[in-house]
Structure formats: structure tokens, C-alpha cells
Symmetry: C2
Subunit: 220 residues, 2 copies
């Protein structure tokens, strides 16, 4: 008799509805068709639930997301997305061609290292009164670089005609840009890609306006 | 007759001796035994050579590094490192096991997204007079998170006993920490790993004190 062990434990995403890095992971789970549980970490309530000792054991950086999966706990959204991609069936989130993979990672990192960290909640709290122009400055600077790159690499999506991790990073960053009143229409390729992607179920279902922890007045 | 085309064009690294992201790429080239040319981009001279229109075509983010390789130009150091790893022989810079790969990426991204962007030259120029305490704050915050993670994942190196992209990110970040007078001895695992790694040729040869563009007074 052969025993086949099937992992029945669903991954748990510790995240926040409005966090762009949490949204990236939700899109990836959704594209791959992976069921998961969500544990809400309210970044505002009680002075920030990410700052508790309990959460610190999940992610010592005290940021969202943290993902419990296959017996390990991972933080950093791009590490989570690539882990999911390498261990789960479903559409590939990175292309097979090494040059295209490199372009996907370059675009993803431009957003995940070059834009998002400079306009996240913790940094803006430290900036204080000048936080809106600060965020606008860094998003604008990033989009000015991203636009000519995407003009070269994009087809229907960010890199060619297949959805990839780059698309997963782009849409939540455009959402942040709009929150900070950055005029996205100045970046026609970014705007076009964002609109195309927002028509896809995986991007709609995972949207911040539609999560278990979305406050009633922000639901859509 | 069959023609085998061999690419004889060496990659070109556009970088700066003291840039931690350029150093990451130099370590990767060195570990893989890849010959490359360096084109110096002085981030200080002439108001910053990364700001020229000529350089902007290589990297629209106007940051170093940019790497010309195999007919494409890549920016974002982790995208470059993983491209090198996927297309060149030599020691693997990411482990084969998916969980270990995820941990390598998590640690790399904690540094590359969670620490470095907040203490890079451009951001510090924008912070102005308070730049040293700002940089110290974000490096300290990152190291406080990195230490317990590395305590769990490390063997001889950051993840187990093989050198990986995580090690490539760690050493240049410790160098930055020391430049900003952060007391690294408070993080015993980080300190131990850094010392071990700095004994390796690839880390020594690529060191900021030993590059073609290193000023004479900083050479060692």
C-alpha cells in the first residue's frame, strides 16, 4: 500500500486590504487558482497591528505581507510570488526565456525597490507633513523611468503578451499613484496596461475594494 | 558544416565603485568567473554622471548599475544577478530547493527593497541635513529584522552552507552600515557572516576599495 500525502493546509496571507504588496500576493494566488485564508493586519488600528510582538515573529520587518505556506513563513512579496510560481501548477508568472524573465524582474524590482519603499506608510509617517509631495515625487520619478521601459518591453502586457510578475507589481503601484493624485494619463503605456489588466478576474477579485477587511465605506 | 556562434562580447557594467548595488553585480560576475568591462559612472562628479541624457538611455531610473549583456541592457541588480545565474555556468547563486530559494530571495529583497532604497544617495540628498540619522534609522531597523531571520536560515552562509544571492546583498549592505557608523557588532549573525564572506576572493576583488574608479585616497 502506498500512502500519498496531500497537503490540505491552505496558505495564510497576513495582509491589509490597501497594502500594495499584499495585493501583489493576492493577484498571484488568484492567477494560479490557489485557495488561501486571509488574516487581516490593520496597519492603522491600535497604532498598527503589524507592530505587535505576535506579528513580529511572522515578519520581523513588521510589514505586510507575511505568508504561511508549506510549513514555512515568508515575507517580501516577490519572494512569495516566485515561490508560488516554482511550486504550483497554473499559468507561469515568469516567462521561460531568460531575457524576458530578466525584463520581468527588472520591471518588478523597479517598482518594488525603486518606488514602493519610498512611499509606504512607515516612511511617510517619518516624513510627516510633507508626505504627499514626497510620495508624488518618488512615484513620478519611477513612472518617468518605467514608461520608456514598458514602451519597449510591452505587448498586450508588461513584457510581451503573457501576464507576468511585472503586471502583478504594476497595477497596485498605479492604484497607489492614483491615491496620491499622480496624473497617470501622462504615462500612456502604464495607463493602457493598467486598464487592460484591471479587466481580468484575478485583478478584480483581489482589488483592495473587495477584501474581507475592506471598510464598508471603501467597498465597491 | 555547422557554425557555432560564440558570443565574444564581454558584458559591460556601468557602475560606481562605492555603490552597493554595483558591488552586488561585481560579486556575482566574480563568483561565476565572468570577465566583464567596467564603465565608471561617477555619482558625484559633474553633479552626477548618472543624470546625463546619454546614461538615461541605459537606465531611465538614472541609477547604477546598468549592464549591457547579450544584446540587452538590464538595470536592477537582482534582475542582473538572476539573469547571469540562469544563463552562465559556474556555482549556482540560488539553491535548487524551492524553500531555500524563497529564503534567499526574501533576505535579498529585505535588503534590496527594505533597506538600500531608503539610504541611497538620491534619497539622502532629498533628506538634506538629517541624512545621517535617517540612514542610521533605516539600516538599524532593517538589521534588527535581518538578524533573527539569518539566525534561523544561516549555516556557514546566509542560507545554509552555500553562497547565494543573499550573501551578495549582505556584504555591501554591511559596508554601507559601517560608512554610516551603525554598530554592526550588535548583530552577531550579520557580523559573523560578513566576516566569513569577506575572506572569499570574489568579495575581495570586487570590493569598493579596489575598483578602476576608486579614488587614490580610498584604495586599499
Amino acid at each position: 500500500m502506498r500512502l500519498t500525502l496531500v497537503c490540505l493546509v491552505k496558505p495564510v496571507l497576513h495582509g491589509y486590504f490597501r497594502s500594495s504588496c499584499s495585493w501583489r500576493v493576492r493577484i498571484a494566488f488568484s492567477l494560479k487558482g490557489i485557495e488561501y485564508d486571509q488574516a487581516a493586519v490593520n496597519l492603522i488600528k491600535d497604532g498598527g497591528q503589524q507592530l505587535t510582538e505576535q506579528y513580529k515573529t511572522l515578519n520581523p520587518m513588521q510589514q505586510v505581507p507575511a505568508v504561511e505556506i508549506d510549513g514555512i513563513t515568508l515575507s517580501q512579496s516577490l519572494a512569495v510570488i516566485q515561490y508560488i510560481d516554482e511550486t504550483r501548477p497554473g499559468p507561469c508568472l515568469l516567462p521561460a526565456d531568460p531575457k524576458a524573465r530578466a525584463q520581468v524582474r527588472m520591471i518588478s524590482d523597479l517598482i518594488a525597490s525603486g518606488i514602493q519603499p519610498l512611499q509606504n506608510l512607515y516612511v511617510l509617517q517619518k516624513i510627516g507633513a510633507e508626505k504627499v509631495p514626497w510620495a508624488q515625487h518618488f512615484i513620478t520619478r519611477g513612472f518617468q523611468a518605467l514608461e520608456p521601459i514598458l514602451k519597449q518591453t510591452s505587448g498586450k502586457y508588461c513584457v510581451g503578451d503573457e501576464i507576468s510578475m511585472a503586471d502583478i507589481c504594476l497595477v497596485p503601484q498605479v492604484y497607489n499613484a492614483e491615491r496620491f493624485k499622480v496624473d497617470v494619463s501622462r504615462y500612456p503605456t502604464i495607463k493602457r496596461l493598467n486598464e487592460t489588466l484591471l479587466e481580468i478576474d484575478a485583478f478584480q477579485l483581489s482589488h483592495p475594494c473587495r477584501q474581507p477587511d475592506t471598510p464598508a465605506d471603501l467597498r465597491a
